[in-house]
């Protein structure tokens, strides 16, 4: 399924809706080039989970964890792990715990990802418009939450 947002504010809005509804033990893979709005999406998701702390880039430490919300939130950026051996880095600990885990550039971890996760691809239509392509575990939940944003 595909969805359209016409501004960063709308990207924030759909991510927040998702954050409000996601069940425990959810793994989201977020793919999209630089400047697509991955950071905005992460901020919206965290807001939806009820996290009030400022969401900062996880790149330096690889992962940032937030405990203040409805569920624990783990925000990872796999960007710099391209072409690296990832099997022995203990990364699966993060998504096998109770909360919501969002991995930017998660496809770079394909060899260690579990069977069930939700993949969200962000593509650019023009400067402001973004198309979100969703597949995997929470496809149906997202179809319900984002029905006003469906892109045909």
């Amino acid at each position: 399924m595909q969805y359209l947002t016409i501004s960063a504010d709308e990207t924030m809005e759909i991510a927040q809706k998702l954050g409000e509804a996601l069940p425990a033990d959810s793994l989201l893979i977020l793919n999209g080039d630089l400047g697509m709005g991955k950071t905005v999406f992460a901020k919206g998701l965290a807001a939806g989970l009820g996290i009030t702390e400022r969401i900062t880039s996880p790149t330096f430490l690889l992962v940032q964890e937030y405990d203040g919300g409805r569920l624990p939130f783990c925000h990872m950026d796999a960007y710099r792990l391209e072409d690296c051996p990832v099997a022995d880095l203990g990364l699966d600990d993060y998504w096998s715990s109770r909360g919501v885990c969002l991995i930017e550039w998660g496809e770079l971890l394909s060899e260690i990802l579990p069977e069930s996760y939700t993949k969200i691809e962000i593509a650019r239509l023009d400067d402001e418009h973004r198309v979100f392509t969703v597949s995997g575990e929470h496809e149906a939940l997202i179809a319900e939450l984002w029905k006003d944003f469906e892109y045909k």
Binding site: E53, T56, S57, T59, F60, L61, V63, E65, C84, G90
Partner: protein, 335 residues
Amino acid sequence: MRILAIESSCDETAAAIVRDGKEVLSNIIATQIPVHQIYGGVVPEIASRCHLQNIAPTVEQALQQANMTFDDVDAIAVTAGPGLVGALLVGVSYAKALAYALQKPLIGVHHWQGHLCALQLEHDIEYPYLALVASGSHSGIVEVLSDNDFRLLGASLDDAAGEAFDKISRALGLGYPGGPAIQKAALLGDAAKISFPIAKTHDTYDFSFSGLKSAVLNHINQRRMRGEELTEQDKYDLAASAQEAICTALAEKTLLAAQTKGYSVIGVVGGVAANQLLRQKLADNKNGIRVIYPSPIFCTDNAAMIGAAAYNYYQRGEFADMSLNADPRKPIYFV
């Protein structure tokens, strides 16, 4: 008063002996940078494992170099957060066990108070002063009102300054850590070659480096899409231009804050404080503002700064007990 201090919040295992919060008797740093280099940055699990291997020999070396035994130590200090939880836990557990076995006082130190206290190792500090804190994980402007009273004026809204250096360095193939690599490449480059945007976070003391990083990466991508390979000289010019933009943003906001709030001294701490262009830009102020820095060895993560901060905790009577825990998200500056 000799404090044994331990720091293990990120990718350096460090131990130091500091006398009276000022005199560094030893300062040992076992860096893990080579281990993390292939990942373009720290990997939490690997950092924890390395800390476990390094901590005992590092502490031993710190004692040896200071010509001391455990009996000569008056207190044990350790970084309790913020940082990587697994990495912090190694230092915290080790320090607790030491304090318990030796029956010495235990002090849990805030990592960023440590960075600020690096200044007192080499300078006589008068409060209040203004601090620019800039590293790979955090960039902020702070009013330091006393050794235990900090007001955050502004911070990075997205990437930290050091992170921007890391990402740009990676894109240019210059390696990790990015700060020193960019600085070195920039020496051979022309900073005026390309003008990168400096984020205007109007009416605030906040920073934003995400846009700059994207602009540099887009520039590189556009060149590649036109089939133009970057020459070595192109890389040097890009490094110089990017460094110019990052340092200008840091210096302008910090000097503006000092001027507006009436501070005559700026202390610059954290890994990015080692950057020469930043130092030059801050020094070139027309308001007679004095700028102070720790030596490079005290800019990077180290335990001497933790020992300096711990002395202040000791004077205030702020001790930890065996319930001390690693707090990876300890609020910045506020204990």
